[in-house]
């Protein structure tokens, strides 16, 4: 049993506070969904968990089975059992997937895993054309192929807790179903999932035990699967409205929005994650 515990997490990106006291706990076999509108801090949460440079934790904690992850570099967080499936998986020219995974597994002492045969199994299962495994990491893969590739890697690396950052973005329905169902199977054998998403449709195939609504860097409501259904029907208006109603006491939120806009003048979306 493994538990990823996030407590009162505050994160700054380029001196702007993006997350403002987020608390969550994901244990083996569970699926927690974090849903929120654009710019609410969803990607910041996943990047902060994985320790991406530029995401500064100003207070709060992230622990895995009580072990403090914050001092650890990214690769050691992966070694500890975390996996981040990226929203936009980076192309890495000249580096093969097999080599990457072999080096990753070697670093965590799991040399008994035969990466070549495991990757092939996972590729077939997820519907990823095996010849794509010979390409440099993510290079010239379509959006859907990249997400299938992330899912295959998650399976081969045998992570304990997976953070899925908008796994559904850019996915056609077949790819979405293939990825979600594969991950759902992994949860049966103990994978814990923190599923960050804008839309409900991923949760049709990867049912969430808990749903959290993230707005302006805070979890404003948590509940069961019904909450995701409600968002599917009504959108985020209800949660945004509550902010407007409390405008008088949340001057900082308005200020935050304004300062974000100032630092990111080319963005149409004043709430856009400046590092996204």
């Amino acid at each position: 049993m493994t538990t990823l515990s996030i407590e009162k997490l505050c994160v700054e990106v380029t001196d702007q506070q993006i997350l403002d006291g987020v608390s969550l706990e994901v244990s083996s076999g569970q699926v927690h969904a974090v849903m929120g509108p654009n710019g609410s801090g969803k990607s910041t949460l996943s990047n902060a968990i994985m320790g991406k440079p530029g995401y500064r934790v100003t207070s709060g904690s992230i622990t895995l089975d009580g072990k403090d992850l914050l001092p650890l570099p990214t690769w050691e967080r992966a070694k500890a059992g975390l996996f981040l499936a990226m929203q936009y998986p980076t192309e890495v020219p000249g580096v093969s997937l097999r080599e990457t995974l072999e080096l990753a597994l070697r670093a965590r002492g799991k040399t008994e895993i035969d990466v070549t045969s495991r990757l092939l199994e996972e590729a077939v299962q997820i519907g990823l054309s095996p010849e794509l495994l010979d390409r440099p990491v993510n290079v010239d893969l379509s959006g859907g192929e990249k997400k299938r590739n992330e899912t295959a890697q998650l399976a081969v690396l045998e992570a304990e807790i997976a953070v899925l950052d908008e796994l559904d973005s850019g996915l056609d329905i077949d790819a979405l179903r293939a990825c979600a169902e594969r991950i759902e199977t992994m949860t049966d054998s103990g994978l814990g999932v923190l599923c960050i998403t804008h839309y409900h449709r991923l949760l049709d195939y990867l049912p969430a035990d808990q749903v959290h609504v993230l707005v302006d860097g805070r979890i404003v409501e948590s509940g069961g699967p019904d909450l995701a259904q409600e968002i599917e029907t009504n959108g985020y208006a209800r949660f945004l409205k509550s902010d407007v109603e409390s405008e008088g006491v949340t001057v900082s939120i308005e200020g935050l929005g304004a300062s974000k806009k100032a630092s990111n003048p080319n963005s149409d979306d004043p709430f856009a994650d400046p590092l996204a």
Partner: protein, 423 residues
Amino acid sequence: MTTTRTSLFQLPNGGESVGSSAFLERRNSAAQRADEAGLPSFEEEIWRYTPIADLDVSKYELGAPGGSLLDFGLTNGVDENAAAVIHIVDGQVVSISVHDEAVTVLTDGTEFENLIGSVTQTGPDVFSDYNFAYCSAPIVIHIASNAVIAGPVLIRQHTTTGGLAWFPRVLVDLGENSEATVVEHQTSPDIDALVCPVTELKVNQAGRLQYLTVQEHGPRTWQIATQMAEIERDAHLAVSQIALGGEYARARIDIKMAGQGSSGDIRAIYFGRADAQHDFRTFQRHNAPHTNSNLLFKGVLDDRSRAIYTGLIRIEPDAADVNAYQTNRTLKLSEEAWAESVPNLEIENNDVRCSHASAVGPIDQDQRFYLESRGVPEDIAEALVVRGFFADVLDQLPVATISDAANTRISELLALEGPGQQR
């Protein structure tokens, strides 16, 4: 008539040039021109940023007794399929073996004298003039017309004697509508020597030539190289460099799209370590219409190494319908590394598409984060990203054995021992 001159370079006692009197006179006048010009100054734009002021030619002597071949390094194993193998050590021919009847190697004679210097006899600088004057073991490689040479012609030029200065010279004359690959491999151990090669490439109509230079000099060797090419109608040339060594390693690469419909590619990878300095001066000259050229350089600088790149795309008034591109990208792995990159365009015709891009910076942090997020330790992730940075150039080089060996060498330089490597 004998004149008394004080030349920067003196042939050793007993050393003399061979050839017809007309040829010797051409060489003699090249020496006079060079002596009158004297060594260049770093105040000249084409020598800017270079340590040319540190060059003390009195340290060096022309001519050496000749040594033994060194390790074959990156060209190990290329011999098996080679169309010809030429070994030259310290300016002396050790062996010439030709395995393809379309390939002729000339070292003297009328045809040799007519060809050598036919792409560039004068200039472009004093070192190429000295080369014509004092070149030892010059080689002309002639490839018959309408021939496709499957394996590469391999020329190993090894410098093994400290204090030696020598002037290797190669001319490739590719017959009409022929296809060939030539590899020039420059090697020296850790010795203080001066090597000034000149390469002349004559790509006749509809010919397709790949010319790859592999430079594995020792850390105290100076190289001042000049490559001049003329590409005739509908012909194609790709000149490439893998430059890994040298204290100061300069290569001037000057290609002329002389005939309409011709095209030329220039590619290089270079890796600087310790106090090494790489210096590339490129020229893409479009003298005819419907011509294309494309340049892609990728360099990595570690420690206190330095790199200079200056490139000119020159498009003459008559050269309409031209595409010319130039990209130089440099990764700095160390704060103390230094790079200068200066692209230039001179365009005298309106019907052209040109671009140049130049970037000096650290490694791609997103790529590194991606690999680390899988669990690859940070130093290994960085090395993988650096090695991968070279991949697209290595993939375009003509001899897979050499590209693979270069990839392995780069992994070693990055202290990377991957379980499996892929370009």
